[in-house]
């Protein structure tokens, strides 16, 4: 993949361009509606769904509050099972470790299991810079990679593409795919032939992990296509990059998430492939197993009292599929591998606010409708975190007096604070300035009126009517 998210414009600017792409709008509306409906159907089948959500949230919270001991236990158990555990503070350290392992074995080609964390750290680009080719083996991730494109969804990274576009990418980039049709079976068949050769030749695989069970030192990958199983079992060397928030204390805890995740993610009762591995199994599967435990901003997020709940996220994408903003603008506008409502909180939490205008624009990329919170399997209260992050953005600029926030907004808010400080002042403002038009100008009438009329201001405010008529009694 040659494309990266570096240097993306602020959300409103990126969104404007995306909204004008009618093909994208159509692809997204169709795809999100399909997954949304599937999810709703299979979730409705589970009588105790709400209890499962509460359990999921409680287990993750408990794990996060004891992260220090859970991670040390995980390391101990992994090491005892023959794995090598490496710790990485940031993306650069993690990428360097993966490259180092490849180079130690004289490997210049790796196959990859679909993994958000390796996209987060820009692993493919880092390996490419070291002369190591990284092949994505998940079908959608492969479409993105071959199209020199960026992922736009956590679970379905090529959700913005329809099958005609995919056919065109395959014809251009795959040998032997010149004559294929845009039938899904034909497209999948071409990818299968293309990937089979990669699986059989690869000596090293790179994965992430959906969960890491501390009590036994077991990593878990949940997937649908079987490409993960191939990567995790065929090569000699396996390196897994795991965010430190992925730890769950016990197998009993894991059970809850294996029920929450597939229904929330793909709308399936159970996912087709669940792979678990505990270090090295002699003469079976990879004989060198390396686990990179990654921070990359997670401890920063953990220190945020309101925002730390975002670390419960199991990357199911239900919030993306239910978000009316995401459905219309797609994932690229968020400028990150983590788009949608979870991306709007996760990016500022991992990176911090007050320095990058793009990151600071993300907490505002929501109407706070709450549809995301309603579907989140681990009950992340995304609207509350968004509001808290907005306050952090404003406070950061308050302290630095740096011009990322339009000063007109600050002036309007301070003015409103004074006006709303007393009923008498508000009454005066209404009488003399006709608050109606005042409100309109504060809203920035041009953005509003491009497609909407403004209400006509009434002759008399409620307050004035109440006074004049003695509360409607005269």
């Amino acid at each position: 993949m040659t494309a990266t998210f570096v240097g993306m414009p602020r959300f409103p600017v990126a969104a404007k361009a995306a909204l004008a792409d009618t093909q994208l709008r159509r692809n997204l509306a169709h795809a999100t509606a399909t997954i949304r409906d599937k999810r709703a159907r299979v979730v409705a089948e589970v009588d105790n769904w709400e209890e499962l959500r509460l359990a999921g949230a409680a287990i993750k919270d408990a794990a996060l509050f004891s992260l220090d001991t859970q991670l040390v236990l995980l390391e101990e158990r992994l090491t005892a099972a023959g794995a090598t555990v490496r710790w990485a503070r940031d993306a650069a350290e993690a990428c360097a470790i993966v490259a180092e392992v490849a180079q130690a074995h004289d490997i210049d080609e790796v196959v990859k299991v679909k993994s958000m964390v390796t996209l987060e750290i820009g692993l493919n680009e880092a390996l490419e810079a070291e002369g190591i080719a990284a092949w994505e083996t998940d079908l959608a991730e492969l479409i993105v990679q071959l199209g020199d494109d960026l992922p736009s969804h956590i679970l379905v990274p090529a959700i913005h593409r329809n099958r005609a576009e995919i056919r065109e990418i395959f014809q251009r980039r795959m040998t032997g795919a010149e004559g294929i049709t845009d039938e899904p079976a034909a497209l999948a068949g071409a990818a299968r032939t293309h990937l089979r050769e990669k699986f059989l030749n690869a000596r090293m695989a790179v994965s992430g992990a959906n969960f890491a069970v501390a009590e036994t030192g077991t990593l878990v990958v949940v997937e649908s296509e079987g490409n993960g199983r191939m990567c995790l079992t065929l090569p000699e060397v396996l390196v897994s990059v795991v965010g430190i928030e992925k730890v769950v204390p016990t197998w009993e805890d894991l059970d809850v998430f294996l029920r929450l995740l597939p229904r929330s993610a793909t709308g399936e009762r159970m996912n087709p492939y669940t792979s678990t591995w505990t270090g090295v199994t002699p003469r079976d599967g990879p004989q060198e197993v390396v686990v990179v435990l990654l921070d990359n901003g997670r401890t920063r997020a953990l220190a945020d009292q309101v925002g730390r709940q975002a670390l419960r996220c199991i990357r199911c994408s239900a919030c993306l599929n239910s978000c009316p903003v995401y459905e219309r603008v797609g994932g690229h506008a968020y400028g990150s591998v983590y788009p949608g409502p979870i991306g709007a909180i996760l990016n500022p939490l991992l990176k911090g606010v007050g320095t990058d205008p793009q990151v600071d624009s993300l907490p505002y990329a929501s109407s706070l409708c709450g549809a995301c919170f309603e579907v989140c399997p681990v009950r992340i209260d995304i609207p509350s975190v968004l509001v808290d992050l907005r306050a952090q953005v404003v406070d950061a600029h308050r302290a630095r007096r740096w011009g990322g926030i339009p000063s007109t907004q600050t002036v309007a808010m301070k003015g409103a604070a004074v006006t709303f400080g007393s009923g008498r002042r508000l009454g005066l403002a209404e009488r003399f300035a006709r608050l109606g038009t005042g409100v309109a100008s504060r809203f920035g009438a041009s953005g509003w009126t491009s497609a909407r009329d403004l209400p006509r201001a009434p002759r008399e405010s409620f307050r004035a009517w109440w006074r004049r008529t003695d509360g409607g009694r005269s």
Binding site: P324, Y364, C369, S422, P458
Partner: protein, 247 residues
């Protein structure tokens, strides 16, 4: 609590609430110290600026049995955000008075349909409104307050009213306060779809429990010359055969 938007732009809604509640035997007052609940500041990230309106709020409403408002969003702000603003103010100033006041006002704040159904225990309010109507459940009343089907039950009991279902009713209209300005293009895309769904119903009137959402959808509908008008739930519930004939 009439709310600042209703006070300044939609006084008819406030008057309808007064009429309706008095008809149901409630003693209604409008404490003139009230201004704004502070939600526009909180949702834009200006928590310090939300303190003066919050002070006005508790000054106006502390001591009443119930604080009733024709807005799911403002009720949500009073119940869920005032505590956050007051806590932060306490941490920064050491003044616990606001926290204590909010502990008294927040649980006494009701969105209109909640007050009617839960406190007054009435669904048939004696209203008459002979029109084809569709209902948009606003996000904050639906997901922040959880008013459920209370507004629908109230509408179903209105004589003459033909209630038709709105497709994708629970999807946000794209208002979101300052969202409608900061992300105007996305907001317009959302409200355009909402207006299309409203037109598909063939309703004459779109009803909701929040005038800010109605201002957004109504603004799109009038721009499209759609021939659908928007009305607050309170105005439909306040209308009777006598009042309809008189107007």
């Amino acid at each position: 609590m009439v709310t600042c938007i209703n006070d300044a732009l939609f006084p008819d809604t406030g008057r309808a609430v007064v009429t309706l509640l008095r008809r149901l035997g409630v003693e209604v007052d409008f404490p003139e110290a009230q201004t704004c609940c502070g939600q526009p500041m909180v949702n834009t990230g200006y928590l310090d600026e939300a303190v003066p309106p919050l002070r006005s709020f508790v000054k106006a409403f502390d001591g009443y049995d119930a604080i009733v408002t024709p807005s799911g969003s403002c009720a949500g702000s009073a119940r869920h955000q005032h505590g956050i603003v007051a806590q932060r103010h306490f941490q920064r100033s050491g003044d616990p008075a606001l926290v204590a006041a909010v502990e008294r006002t927040a649980p006494r704040t009701y969105e209109l349909s909640e007050f009617l159904v839960d406190v007054l225990e009435v669904t048939d309010v004696g209203a008459y409104f002979p029109h084809r109507v569709t209902y948009h459940p606003t996000c904050h009343s639906l997901r922040m307050l959880g008013v459920g089907d209370r507004p629908v039950r109230l509408l179903q009991a209105v004589r003459g009213l033909d209630l038709v279902e709105l497709p994708r009713a629970e999807e946000c209209c794209g208002f979101g306060g300052t969202f409608a300005v900061k992300n105007a293009d996305t907001s317009v895309a959302m409200v355009s779809d909402k207006a299309r769904h409203v037109r598909e119903t063939g309703a004459e009137v779109l009803v909701a429990g929040d005038n800010s959402c109605l201002m957004n959808i109504g603004g799109a509908l009038t721009r499209q010359r759609a021939g659908v008008r928007v009305m607050h739930l309170a105005e439909i519930l306040a209308s009777t055969e006598q009042r309809t004939a008189a107007s």
